[in-house]
C-alpha cells in the first residue's frame, strides 16, 4: 500500500531498496539507475526551492519524453508543487495558454521551444529553467550546473505534502475552445497505483513500456507503477511511438514485459509491424485504454501474441482507470462486438443515473458516475464546470463521466456512447467544439460544424463542414495550416467540405445528424 504517502516517496523507497537497478531507459539505450534518478530529482527540487517554488505551486514541464523529463517530474513533486506537462509538439500558443491559466511559478523548457513560449507569455513570463536539449538526463544536468555556477542550490528537504495536495494538472480538450485543467491529487494517484498492484501484480524484474505522452493520463501508470515495484520504465519517444515496425523491434530488443497504450498503435503494429519476425515472448501483460478496440483487430493481435494477459481499461482523465475487463484467452470467432469495459475498480464506486439524475434500476442504460479516492478534485480555475460535472447522492460526491453504459448479463458495463460531443481519436480526447471554435476564427468561414464518423481504416475521421460565400472551396492546405497554429496535429480535421449554407434543424440549429449522413 502506498496510499497515505506522497506519490514521490515511491522513488525514495525504490532508490533505497534497489539503488543500482535501472529505473528509466531510453530507446537509444541510455539509462539511469534508481540511485541516480533520486539524486538528479533532488537537484531539481533544490533548484526549484531556490527559485521560490512553494508547496501548492505549479511547475510547467515542456520537455520531450526523456530521462530528463522523468527526473524533472519527480523533482517538482519533491518541491511540494504540482507538475503541469504539455504536449511537446503542440503550438506555443496552446502551451502558453495552459501555463498562464494555471499560473505556473517556474517552467522547465527545452531551448528550441523557449523563444516562442516567451513571446506568447509576454509580458508575464515565469522563471524558466532552459534545457539545451534532452536525453539521458544530460540536458537537465547541464541546465542545473549552469545555475550552480552563479550560486549553488543548497541541499533542501523534500517538502511535506498531504494526500489532498495537487500532484499534477492534466489539460484536456475543452468544448468551449479552451483546454481544461484536470486537478489530480497525490491520493488520486496512489489509490490508483494500489489498485494496479492488486490487479496486475507487477514484479521488480518487469520492464514497462511508457508509450503515452506525459500530458496524457495513461502516463501515470507508465511513470509511477514501475517505480512502486523497483522495475524499469522504457521510454518510447513520440516519433518512435508512431512507427509500428520500429516499435515491434524495440519491444523485442528492450525485452518489454508490460505494454500499455491506446489500441490504435497496437492495430498499426498488427498491420505493418512485421510482428511475426520478432521474439516478444517476454510480454506478459497487455493493457489498452482510451478508445474501443475493434474485435477483428484485437483477434489479429492475439494471433501474434497469444501468451500475454489482456486487459481493457476504461476511465476519463478525471478518474484515471475506473473500470476494467480481462479479455478471455480465446476470442470466439462469431464475436463481433467489442469487449465490455467491465466492472468498477476496487478503490472506486459506481452509479448509473438517468437523464433526471435518478439511479437506473437493473441493467438499464444510463450515465456512469464514479466516486472514491481516485476522482479528481475538480477543474482548475473553473468552479462552475466542476460543479456541473459532479452530483451528490447518498452522502457521496460522484463524477459524471458523460459516458453512457449498460450492464450485460455478467454484470459488466458495456460502453454505449457519449452524452456530449467529445470523441476519442487515437486515444486522445477531442472536443469537436474546440475544433469548431478554432475554425470559426477563420476569416472566410461564415459557419462551421465538425462531425466525427467511424472509419474502418483509421478508426475515426473528423470532418469539418464550413459555410463559405456561395459555397466556395477554400484551400485545404491553408486551412490545415491555420488549424495548426492553435490545435495539436491530432485535432486537425481529416476532411473539409464546403457549403453555401449548412443544413439546419426546424429550430434553426445546425443539423448535425444531416451532416453525419453526408458522410
Amino acid at each position: 500500500m502506498i496510499r497515505g504517502s506522497p506519490l514521490h516517496e515511491v522513488l525514495t523507497r525504490s532508490a533505497a531498496a534497489r539503488p543500482g537497478h535501472p529505473a528509466v531507459e531510453e530507446a537509444d539505450g541510455s539509462a539511469i539507475s534508481y540511485a541516480d534518478l533520486a539524486v538528479l530529482s533532488d537537484r531539481v527540487r533544490d533548484r526549484l526551492l531556490v527559485l521560490g517554488v512553494c508547496r501548492g505551486d505549479r511547475v510547467g514541464v515542456w520537455v520531450r519524453k526523456s530521462i530528463d523529463s522523468v527526473a524533472a517530474i519527480f523533482g517538482v513533486l519533491k518541491s511540494g508543487a504540482a507538475y503541469v506537462p504539455v504536449d511537446p509538439s503542440a503550438p506555443a500558443a496552446r502551451n502558453a495558454s495552459i501555463f498562464a491559466d494555471c499560473d505556473v511559478r517556474v517552467v522547465l523548457v527545452e531551448e528550441r521551444f523557449e523563444a516562442a513560449l516567451r513571446a506568447e507569455l509576454e509580458p508575464v513570463v515565469p522563471v524558466m529553467v532552459v534545457l539545451r536539449g534532452s536525453g539521458g538526463g544530460c540536458g537537465l544536468r547541464t541546465a542545473l550546473d549552469a545555475f550552480d555556477v552563479a550560486a549553488i542550490a543548497p541541499r533542501g528537504n523534500t517538502v511535506r505534502t498531504s494526500d489532498d495536495d495537487l500532484a499534477y494538472i492534466l489539460y484536456t480538450s475543452g468544448s468551449t475552445g479552451k483546454p481544461k485543467g484536470v486537478m489530480l491529487t497525490h491520493e488520486n494517484a496512489t489509490s490508483f497505483l494500489d489498485w494496479c498492484t492488486e490487479t496486475f501484480a507487477p514484479r521488480s524484474e518487469d520492464r514497462f513500456s511508457a508509450h503515452a505522452p506525459f500530458h496524457f493520463d495513461l502516463s501515470i501508470l507508465d511513470l509511477f507503477l514501475p517505480v512502486v515495484h523497483g522495475a524499469t520504465i522504457v521510454l518510447i519517444g513520440e516519433e518512435l511511438g508512431r512507427d509500428p515496425s520500429s516499435l515491434a523491434r524495440l519491444i523485442a530488443r528492450s525485452q518489454l514485459s508490460i505494454w500499455y497504450s491506446a489500441p490504435s498503435i497496437l492495430r498499426l503494429m498488427v498491420q505493418s509491424g512485421a510482428l511475426a519476425e520478432h521474439d516478444h515472448r517476454r510480454l506478459r501483460i497487455v493493457l489498452f485504454a482510451g478508445e474501443v478496440f475493434p474485435i477483428v483487430h484485437l483477434r489479429a493481435l492475439k494471433r501474434f501474441w497469444p501468451h500475454p494477459v489482456y486487459f481493457n481499461l476504461y476511465g476519463p482523465t478525471e478518474t484515471n482507470v475506473c473500470t476494467f475487463y480481462r479479455v478471455p484467452d480465446a476470442i470466439p470467432e462469431e464475436r463481433l462486438d467489442p469487449y465490455p469495459i467491465g466492472k468498477v475498480c476496487s478503490h472506486l464506486h459506481d452509479l448509473v443515473i438517468d437523464e433526471l439524475g435518478q439511479p437506473v434500476e437493473g441493467n438499464g442504460e444510463g450515465e456512469l458516475c464514479i466516486g472514491g479516492p481516485g476522482v479528481m478534485r475538480g477543474y482548475w480555475n473553473d468552479a462552475a464546470l466542476t460543479e456541473a460535472r459532479f452530483i451528490t447522492a447518498g452522502f457521496a460526491r460522484w463524477y459524471r463521466t458523460g459516458d453512457l453504459v449498460a450492464r450485460d448479463e455478467c454484470g459488466d458495463y458495456v460502453y454505449r456512447g457519449r452524452r456530449d460531443r467529445m470523441v476519442k481519436k487515437r486515444g486522445y480526447r477531442v472536443e469537436l467544439g474546440e475544433i469548431e471554435s478554432c475554425l470559426s476564427r477563420h476569416p472566410e468561414a461564415r459557419e462551421v460544424a465538425v462531425v466525427a464518423l467511424p472509419d474502418d481504416e483509421v478508426g475515426l475521421l473528423v470532418k469539418a463542414h464550413i459555410g463559405t460565400e456561395a459555397g466556395k472551396r477554400l484551400s485545404v492546405v491553408r486551412l490545415k495550416q491555420f488549424c495548426a497554429q492553435s490545435l495539436p496535429a491530432y485535432m486537425i480535421p481529416d476532411h473539409f467540405h464546403f457549403h453555401a449554407l449548412l443544413p439546419k434543424t426546424s429550430t434553426g440549429k445546425t443539423d448535425y445528424q444531416a451532416l453525419a449522413k453526408l458522410g
Binding site: 509500428p244 515496425s245 490545415k480 488549424c483 496535429a489
Partner: protein
C-alpha cells in the same frame, strides 16, 4: 538522373493525388509543413515513405521517418537525393 527539383515534383504530385484530391496545386509549396499541419497523418506518412522507397529504389530508416526529415516536400526531396548518392 533525379535532381531535387524533379524528386520534389514527383513527391508533390503523389501527395496531391493521394491526400489532397481537389486542392489547387499552387497551394502546396515545397516549404508547406505536412506533418505538423496534419496534412500527413501517421498512416499517410507510412504511405508516402513506401512510395518514395519504391519509386526511387531507396530505403528510409525508421529514425528518418520523422518530422525532422519529412515535414516538407523540400525535406523529403533532400533526403531522397542524399540517399541516391552524389551524381558523378
Amino acid at each position: 538522373m533525379h535532381d531535387e527539383t524533379s524528386i520534389a515534383a514527383e513527391v508533390k504530385e503523389f501527395i496531391l493525388q493521394e491526400f489532397l484530391p481537389e486542392e489547387d496545386p499552387s497551394e502546396l509549396e515545397s516549404a508547406t509543413p505536412l506533418i505538423t499541419a496534419g496534412i500527413l497523418d501517421s498512416i499517410a506518412t507510412l504511405k508516402l515513405v513506401a512510395f518514395v522507397e519504391k519509386r526511387f529504389g531507396i530505403a528510409v530508416e525508421a529514425h528518418e521517418a520523422s518530422v525532422e526529415h519529412l515535414n516538407t516536400i523540400a525535406d523529403i526531396a533532400r533526403l531522397v537525393r542524399a540517399k541516391l548518392g552524389n551524381p558523378a
